[in-house]
């Protein structure tokens, strides 16, 4: 009885229908949060006392970097659940994460590079934070490459799940790289167990952007997951209903 929710989450028809119903409830709040965050970040937030208007890159760089890590953790956890409990839906979630995570990791790297040029005087440096984030991009690309190299979905799920789980060690390395080693990159100012070191006028738009991107990720995940569920169901009669309904 306490586990019925878990069993329902393992049932493809149930999850497929639920995902379709939930998507707009995540996508529209995401759009509102992102628009409010953009207005706050570009117009209302005061310029930084050291970086002037250049600091406004934070409102796209930090959400992209947050996505790159959060999506990877989601992918690795789902892959582990799929592997341990042989849950098709969990594998469908993991497979859906990779292209989303890869694209936002790319955005984090490029926006970071565009921020680094005026502030550090270089687009790129083989710095621990930058290098570990680049490795994250390669992990995503490797995961997607491995999946596309295996025709059978079930075998692809198992092989790529192992890669996703092993690669998760890179996530704390990225997060703590700026504390463990000398890095050009600043230490975390929001994602830490203390009061954020930022005035409210700068912080609130950033939190709106982070929340908006997170909801956007879940909305994208639900759409992609429905496709991945269909790819894993061979002859189920509910597919006929799902496709005509």
């Amino acid at each position: 009885m306490a586990w019925t929710w878990f069993h329902r989450l393992a049932s493809p028809p149930h999850v497929y229908a639920l995902a379709a119903r939930l998507t707009p409830w995540l996508a529209w709040p995401a759009a509102v949060l992102i628009i409010a965050g953009l207005y706050g970040g570009l117009v209302l937030a005061p310029p930084d006392y050291q970086q002037g208007e250049g600091f406004r890159i934070i409102y796209v760089h930090a959400p992209s970097a947050w996505m790159s890590l959060m999506v990877y953790v989601t992918m690795a956890v789902s892959a582990a659940v799929g592997l341990i409990w042989r849950m098709k839906v969990a594998h469908a979630v993991a497979a859906s994460c990779a292209p989303i995570g890869a694209s936002f990791t790319f955005a984090a790297l490029v926006t970071g590079s565009l921020w680094g040029r005026p502030m550090w005087g270089t687009y790129w440096e083989w710095d621990p934070r930058l290098t570990s984030e680049l490795i994250l991009l390669f992990l995503y690309l490797g995961y997607m490459g491995l999946r596309s190299a295996i025709d059978d979905v079930r075998r692809a799920d198992r092989a790529s799940a192992l890669l996703a789980i092993v690669g998760v060690v890179n996530v704390p390395i990225i997060h703590y790289s700026v504390l463990w080693w000398n890095s050009l990159h600043q230490a975390p100012s929001v994602m830490k167990l203390a009061k954020p070191e930022m005035p409210a006028g700068m912080l609130i738009p950033l939190l709106l952007m982070l929340a908006g991107f997170t909801l956007f990720f879940v909305a994208l995940l639900l759409v992609r997951m429905r496709g991945e569920i269909l790819n894993r169901e061979r002859s189920a009669s509910w597919i006929r209903e799902a496709l005509t309904g």
Binding site: L42, G54, V60, T111, R226, G227, E228, S235, L243
Partner: protein
Amino acid sequence: MTEFFHMGGYARYVWPSYGLTFAIVILNIIWARRALRLASAQARGRLALKANPP
């Protein structure tokens, strides 16, 4: 307004950052919908093949 677009001299770093990020947001919407459409079409194809085996 010109001052806003000038971004205190950082325009050539700030605007490409915003442009790229939002291009990726839009592309993700297009890619996700395309992936679902493709999977639905393939599932339909499998159902049709099952109903009328060649």
